[in-house]
């Protein structure tokens, strides 16, 4: 146990060093505005990908409606800061809580479904959330909620990402995390061993949803506007792709997947249509030649994660 704590401390120190380095590069202008944007987005997407991985990879429940929870967090936090002028940290917490609450309410009935049915149900729920937002004039309706203060910067995004990563890492290594993994491996066997499968599925789903909400809060306070078009199922697919690309169930895999896809889209940003064609080709080819994702084998990747540390890998490749 003590060794584990020491390791965590070392990873944390490494992350701080990376943060200091990137921050210095940004302050001195070596990293320009464009790549600064990309790095902040990267932090947000890492939160989204690892939280989706908690649901899809660790617990084995196939959800593809993550953008919906992101939207709830984005709007809930934006309402607090825009309409009530509350502090940013409180807005983030409330955004995460709102998305988590919704995840709980939605997860309780839908997680009885499995496989493709759950996938399609979560896809539908994500769209319902978006369409509902679209029809509420109080939060801007179809034109979006405008005038959100730009509170998010690299520091916010990085440290919240770090918090989420450590939280998920410790969760996975706890009793609860083991229970979730056992559900992924064999739900019936897990139930026979006395694990309350519904409880853990809903728990993982709620946690994943609330972190998506936190990411949404960061997102809306970076782009000045919360717009329903940012939270379509294309966004959900995008996050899902990061997770699967890196390897389902592997946290470091999700981070690498997020970095890779962000890099592809940033690199080809000037040719938007070509970018999507290349993006889709990368996706197809990777699945054809490496269907288990980049890091592949879940056990190996978990061990690798223990050795190398998710946060450190993530950011050291991000700049």
């Amino acid at each position: 146990m003590r060794e584990k704590r020491k390791e965590d401390l070392m990873i944390f120190a490494g992350c701080l060093a990376v943060y200091a380095a990137v921050q210095t590069l940004m302050a001195t202008g070596v990293i320009g505005a464009y790549w600064e944007r990309t790095i902040v987005y990267l932090c947000i997407y890492i939160i989204l990908a690892t939280s989706l991985n908690l649901i899809n990879g660790i617990t084995g429940q196939f959800s593809i409606g993550h953008a919906g929870f992101m939207a709830v967090g984005a709007y809930a936090s934006a309402v607090l800061t825009v309409k009530f002028g509350l502090p940013y940290l409180l807005a983030i917490v409330v955004g995460g809580a709102a998305a988590g609450l919704l995840g709980f309410v939605i997860g309780l009935p839908t997680l009885r479904l499995s496989g493709d049915y759950l996938a399609i149900a979560t896809l539908g729920l994500g769209e319902i959330i978006r369409i509902t937002i679209l029809n509420i004039p109080y939060i801007g309706g179809a034109s979006g909620l405008m005038g959100i203060p730009k509170y998010t910067n690299f520091t916010w995004a990085f440290f919240i990402m770090l918090f989420v990563l450590f939280f998920i890492k410790n969760f996975v290594n706890s009793t609860h995390g083991r229970a979730c993994i056992s559900i992924r491996e064999n739900e019936i066997a897990a139930e026979a061993m006395g694990i309350n499968t519904t409880k853990y599925k809903v728990l993982a789903f709620t946690l994943g949803a609330s972190f998506a909400g936190v990411a949404g809060a960061l997102f809306s306070h970076y782009t000045y506007i919360a717009h329903p078009a940012s939270f379509t199922f294309m966004q959900s697919f995008n996050i899902l792709t990061m997770v699967v690309l890196g390897g389902l169930g592997s946290m470091s895999g999700s981070i690498i997947g997020a970095i890779l896809l962000m890099w592809v889209s940033a690199f080809f940003a000037s040719w938007p249509e070509l970018r999507m064609v290349i993006y889709s080709l990368v996706l197809i080819l990777l699945m054809l030649y490496r269907p288990q994702g980049l890091l592949g084998d879940k056990e190996l990747s978990l061990k690798m994660f223990g050795r190398l540390g998710g946060g450190q890998r993530g950011t050291s490749q991000g700049n």
């Binding site: 839908t110 479904l113 149900a121 769209e127 369409i131 699945m287 054809l288 269907p291």
Partner: protein, 298 residues
Amino acid sequence: MEIQSLFQQLLQQLVNGISLGSIYALIALGYTMVYGIIRLINFAHGDIYMLGAYIGFFCTTALHMAFFPALIIAMAGAAITGVCIERAAYRPLRKAPKIAVLITAIGVSLFLEYGGMLVLSPQPRTFPEVFPDKIYNVGGIIIGSQQMLILATSLVLMVVLTYIVQKTKVGKAMRAVSFDADAARLMGIDVDRIISFTFAIGSGLAGAAGVLVGVYYNSIDPLMGIMPGIKAFVAAVLGGIGIIPGAMLGGIIMGIVEALISGFVSSTFRDAGAFAILIIILLFKPAGLLGKNVREKV
């Protein structure tokens, strides 16, 4: 008077809903057949529908074809595309984890959408009026000849499909493979060939739906397949996925519900209605309206 006009509007929306629903049914058939045979949600199916619309568009504008030859060519083109996609992207993954195939399907879908944008330009195009739209007024309810054309074409295609599946040897093989692929292989059925055939038929139907939509709405664009594709999938789930009459029923119900919502509530809630149906059906009868519940064995 009030009640009478309400009733009239209800009937009007029913007419609109059925013609829209028959298009959903055509797309849903492809989803349901493919799912029934290889348990894959073929996300690219909606984009094959888009390709069908574009083939129909070029046949009628550049080659000045009449409606029916254009429809046939669009169906053939869509069928060939479907078979090629299956062969290139799905067949190598027959033994891979299911999620990998699903992601590949999403990849193919994105490829067709944005490849379409790149090659065909993202601007919407106006579909020529290949079929003069006459308006008939039956007791205050307006029925367009295009709506009748859509309904008639879909019905004919569905009858042909039912005949193929129920009466021919290939259809029998398709049913056998969807029931148990391994047992079918042991009985000497070439499973890969049957899967290709299923993709061909499903994609052909989607292509036909694309042309019909082009005629009905007059406008096509490379991203037109996303929403109808997902709604058609909802229709397939609603009827009971893997069940062919279920897809037809589900499609018609979806069309009617959508027309009723846009007629009586608000067209902005139209899509939410479709997804609400999905959630309700999944929670209360996940096997679909015509499906049977299968208990899980340990």
